[in-house]
């Protein structure tokens, strides 16, 4: 057996496991997002199967309008870019500009939600009208929930980065990175959702 343990000079100093956490938290978040992505994958699979094996009666089929969701797609894609921009300024220690871009990102998120709400109210079908309608609302609603959470997270980060020496700085950027990763993930899901739900 070869068991080696060099005598540690600082052996009395108990190494706290919390010390080295920053990158592990991001790793944990990625794992969580994979799990979250699987929930969506399940929904998508259900939707596609429904579509393949339970075709609707011809009179229940409704062509979705594209302009609004296309606008939504653009809103989200732009918001990903603005988030990235905010990150650039955080890197440069320019907290004013960073906050500015964070607010814009949150604004775009909220705009997305409003536009989505608007779409909901103008759609000619309700939640329980038919299988297709139910799945449509379940998918977009679940995604909307994610956007809502993301927007709240962005606002929290924005709030925290206001006070100088606060929780969001160049050196302590985990909350920022986590929110950004999450936001990109939500965007990515939307793109898939857009293709599957509106374009296919």
């Amino acid at each position: 057996m070869t068991t080696v343990s060099p005598l540690n000079k600082k052996s009395n100093e108990v190494i706290s496991s919390k010390e080295e956490h920053a990158d592990h938290r991001l790793f944990g978040l990625i794992t969580f997002l994979i799990a979250d992505g699987m929930t969506f994958a399940g929904f998508f699979a259900a939707y596609l199967t429904f579509k393949a094996v339970n075709p609707l009666l011809p009179d229940a089929i409704y062509e979705l309008e594209l302009p609004l969701p296309t606008l939504n797609t653009i809103l989200l894609l732009v918001s990903s870019a603005t988030f990235h921009k905010a990150g650039k300024y955080l890197e440069e220690n320019n907290s004013k500009k960073c906050q500015y871009w964070l607010l814009i990102t949150a604004g775009l998120g909220v705009a997305f939600l409003i536009s989505q709400m608007f779409e909901y109210f103008t759609l000619p079908f309700g939640l329980t009208d038919n299988l297709y309608a139910s799945t449509f609302y379940a998918l977009t609603g679940f995604h909307g929930l994610h956007v809502t959470l993301g927007a709240i997270m962005i606002l929290i980060i924005w709030w925290q980065s206001r006070s100088p020496g606060g929780r969001i700085t160049k050196t302590n950027r985990f909350p920022f990175e986590a929110a950004e990763l999450y936001w990109h993930f939500v965007d990515g899901i939307w793109v898939v959702l857009f293709i599957i739900l509106y374009l296919l």
């Binding site: 070869t2 108990v14 190494i15 794992t31 799990a35 399940g42 929904f43 094996v53 799945t135």
Partner: protein, 550 residues
Amino acid sequence: MSISIPPSTENNIKKLQPTGWLRYFSFSLDHKVIGLQYLICGFIFYLIGGLLAGAIRIELTSPMSDFMARDVYNQVLTLHGTIMIFLWIVPVVNGAFGNYLIPFYVGARDMAFPRLNAVAFWLIPPAGLMLISSYFINGAAQSGWTAYPPLSITTPAAGQIVWIISVLLLGGSSIFGGINFIATILKLRRPGLKLMQLPMYCWAMLGTSILVVLSTPVLAGTLILLSFDIVAHTGFFNPSLGGNVIVYQHLFWFYSHPAVYIMVLPAFGLVSEILPVHCRKPLFGYSTMVYSIMAIVILGLVVWAHHMFTSGTPPWMRLFFTIATAFIAVPTGIKFFNWVATLWGGRISLNSAILFSCGFIVNFVLGGITGVALAQVPFDVHVHDTYFVVAHFHYIVYGGSVFVIFSSIYHWYPKFTGKMLNETIGRIHFAITFIGFNLCFAPQHWLGLNGMPRRVAEYDPQFTFVNQISSFGALLMALSTLPFLWNIFYSTFKGKESGDNPWKALTPEWLTSSPPPVENWIGEAPLVTEPYGYGKKQETKNSPDSILEN
């Protein structure tokens, strides 16, 4: 050999020693406390689930439905299945032993996310209590643990909704746990420790956690859709509203088949830790064991439809899933042959831990063989949804996972408490459990083949005698818990002191005091590159129990 643990005085250890039993009821962040919380909580639910099993077996001693009302019977079997799977096996083989052992094995002082860890545990008791209390309030769910719609949509809604919520909570707990294990194993490894030097249980937990992360969310999504059907009257799985019930089955089994490996892969890992210690031999075929775990993980994700052979799946699908399912026997077989090879030529101490582990091997092989038979479509169309299936999975979940849990308790109890369990009582426990178990479930194969469906409170009179044998076996199993519980309680207070390393084991959790101090080691964690280095030359001079004697 050069093992050196930095000098530490008794005093030092005492100071770091956790104190007070109250911390087991607190939001503790210590992985060892959380591990034992999982274990004890799980065992309490096991007793409840077992009590329900007792009720099932009492009902089935006579062909009539006379012990309880028919809908109560369905509630009891639903609760039994749900509790045993989600509140006993999954939390214990993953949560309990995973939390206790993984940080030791990777040489860390705690899990990667201690707070998330505590949250994951504390989701379990409320979920469990909610589930059980639904029985007393409005009647529990009564559509089986599979909750197939449209039955689950048409039975009383309250119980079904509570069932969904608690399974969602338990699923969440499981996902949090899985994230934590992946991060701990991959990221918290002590510098210098390579992946292929990790004890096998780490690999098993890595594989399991991958399955948890990939499949549990699908179950969550499915149950959310199901709850919409119940509450908001959508029609996802409701054919009278245009929905499709088969889609539910696919989504459900996409989780629930991997779930069976979530219940058994960690058990495989635990056996791989226990056998070498008591056989005084290295684990045979380490690397093939690792690859076979990963093969099981991958195959396990693509075999789910073998639960749906009679529900109108197209022929090609039946064929694909038959072949994929049966092939799981190959990597699983590799593990079993390696264990036998580990036994071969060892110096085996025939103690309770080894007996339960070997009982596991025997029982699981039988359960696995019936599994491979079930995978054959033409065979399955006859025995699907009969007692043959009930026999198959009890051979695996009880004869497999539960036997391993008992084995592990006998093995790690000295670690948990610093006390020894009584060996004689342990062997009596094993003997009664083994006999009772086989008496209970072996006859059920015959019942299924000869025409007794599962999930029924009444049956044809010609099955009475065999059912009574089965019930008698269940009674023995229930009785066997008594010596076990007595052993645990007695030994906790009056047991013989075990010393730090009673088994002279080489895995890292034994290279510290028993019970271990708060942050696992005084000083730096030892680097164990050969956790199974038994019988190696260098070792004879320095037996490992000298490690802690400075």
